[in-house]
């Protein structure tokens, strides 16, 4: 599904990605983890084509990214901070994104129902709270039926009920055989949903495998301690 080969990226003098090789097969939930500044977001943005790599190649579904934008039809992306043009209304924004993707088969209505957004449809985005904005953000992401879903900190600002609904939503997407890429700081959330984790450290992939494998490798009883041991050993 996603193939990343020897990916390098520098921002000024700051070398963020130092040769990433990653191969993600179809199906399953993959969690990208790593401390702040390890290159998670940069990697995701590279896959989305928002950041242009200095060297290396990425292909999604066998199609190389370079000078290509149509492949993004295959991706649903949830950005970290949801900020929309304030003067648009919620339903206008949804209509607009649909229009941009030329996609008719959507499930926006059931998602609106799911997140109880009906009362907000005619409100301007500028007047929404952070949590509601995040819900709109989720609707925008999940309303298309793309084989690859990328979620950047999907839980931020959500109340517990919505959090639960989101989890169920992610699972049901997995059932359909989709590939889901998630970054999150909330380890319990990751532990619950992730089939496999990709651990980035200082611009390189430190570990890729299931949580059980990670526990075995670090000889730690639980996930949190396993992560902590990676971090303490690398900074020791």
């Amino acid at each position: 599904m996603i193939e990343v080969k020897d990916l390098h990226k520098k921002f000024g003098k700051n070398e963020v990605l130092k040769g990433i090789d990653l191969n993600i097969e179809r199906g399953g939930i993959f969690s990208v983890l790593g401390p702040n500044g390890s290159g998670k977001t940069t990697l995701i943005k590279c896959i989305l084509g928002m950041v242009l790599p200095d060297s290396g190649a990425i292909s999604v579904d066998g199609k190389p990214l370079k000078n290509n934008f149509k492949y993004r039809n295959e991706i649903d992306y949830l950005p970290q901070i949801a900020n929309f043009p304030g003067n648009l209304k919620v339903n206008e924004l949804i209509a607009m994104i649909k229009d941009l993707r030329d996609s008719k088969a959507t499930k926006d209505e059931e998602l609106i129902e799911l997140f109880k957004l009906q009362p907000f449809l005619n409100k301007k985005l500028a007047n929404l709270s952070g949590g509601t904005k995040q819900k709109v953000n989720l609707v925008l992401t999940f309303m298309f039926d793309s084989p690859l879903i990328i979620l950047d900190e999907p839980t931020s600002g959500l109340d517990p009920i919505s959090h639960l609904r989101l989890k169920n939503l992610i699972f049901s997407e997995r059932e359909k055989g989709k590939t889901i890429l998630v970054t999150s700081h909330i380890l319990s959330f990751v532990e619950e949903i992730a089939d496999e984790i990709v651990f980035l450290l200082e611009g390189k992939i430190y570990f890729k495998g299931t949580i059980t494998e990670l526990k075995t490798k670090t000889e730690q009883p639980d996930f949190e301690h396993a992560i902590a041991s990676i971090l303490s050993s690398s900074y020791a």
Partner: protein, 260 residues
């Protein structure tokens, strides 16, 4: 691109600032015309406003819009849309809505005043067309500045500097160099220097209408050809178009290479 343009435009059409801008011009037009009751004087005052204020507003608005919609831009970037379409679409959206505020805001009072039955209609049309060009030029320059500067404060700073330079400092340097080199033939130099600054270019374009009697007093053959024939008008318009096209090209190029 047209879709992005459409949505940026809708967004702006509902923005408070578009109305402030629109109402400002409406008020200006009304005050100039109905308090003074002197169409020719109004057109002259308007010219000063247009060549100074329109660039300022275009620059600030362009920079502001870019920085304010950065997150939204990121959302768009993840959609299957070409990068250049996103930025060019936003640019044209902003510039078009600004230009419309200008044209309608100033146009309405003048239409009610009866501009269509007046000789000043051509002067006025020229003013509006030039104002439109300046809006497009300075919004494009603002986008170029904003795209090249992640730092908002820096971006605003450069934008204001750019305006200050084009509107005032440039002419100061221009005047000094004319006075300093007054023993040399200067008409070619001064025409070229005019072409290199869109504010001066627009000013001269309007001068061709308002002050042609004075301009024809100058003896140089190059000036004579420029001011005395339609050559000057055509060249000025061509240069204004170049001034729109070049920054737009830079928007396209920078957007293509930029990381978000």
């Amino acid at each position: 691109m047209l879709k992005i343009l459409k949505y940026s435009f809708y967004d702006l059409m509902r923005s408070r600032w578009s109305y402030v801008y629109f109402l400002f011009y409406l008020l200006l037009g009304v005050v100039l015309l109905f308090l003074n009751n002197d169409l020719s004087k109004a057109v002259i005052t308007l010219m000063n406003v247009i060549i100074i204020l329109v660039p300022l507003i275009g620059t600030i608005f362009g920079v502001m819009y870019y920085y304010n919609s950065r997150e939204f831009t990121e959302l768009l970037l993840a959609q299957p849309v070409k990068r250049s379409s996103i930025f060019l679409g936003q640019y044209f959206g902003v510039a078009t809505s600004l230009a419309m505020s200008l044209v309608i805001g100033l146009g309405l009072p003048f239409v009610f005043y009866g501009i269509f039955n007046s000789n000043a209609i051509w002067d006025f049309t020229l003013l509006l067309v030039t104002g439109g060009f300046l809006t497009f030029i300075f919004t494009a320059l603002a986008f170029v500045i904003a795209l090249s500067n992640e730092n908002k404060i820096k971006g605003f700073g450069y934008a204001i500097l750019l305006w200050l330079f084009m509107a005032v400092i440039y002419d100061g340097i221009f005047l000094m160099s004319l006075l300093y080199f007054e023993d040399y033939p200067l008409d070619k130099f001064s025409l070229i220097a005019t072409m290199l600054n869109p504010v001066d270019l627009s000013r001269v374009l309007i001068l061709l209408k308002l002050d042609i009697s004075a301009l024809l007093g100058y003896t140089g053959a190059v000036f004579q050809k420029f001011f005395g024939t339609s050559f000057g008008l055509l060249l000025s318009f061509a240069m204004l178009i170049v001034w729109v096209v070049v920054p737009t090209f830079f928007i396209w190029r920078i957007a293509k290479r930029k990381d978000f």
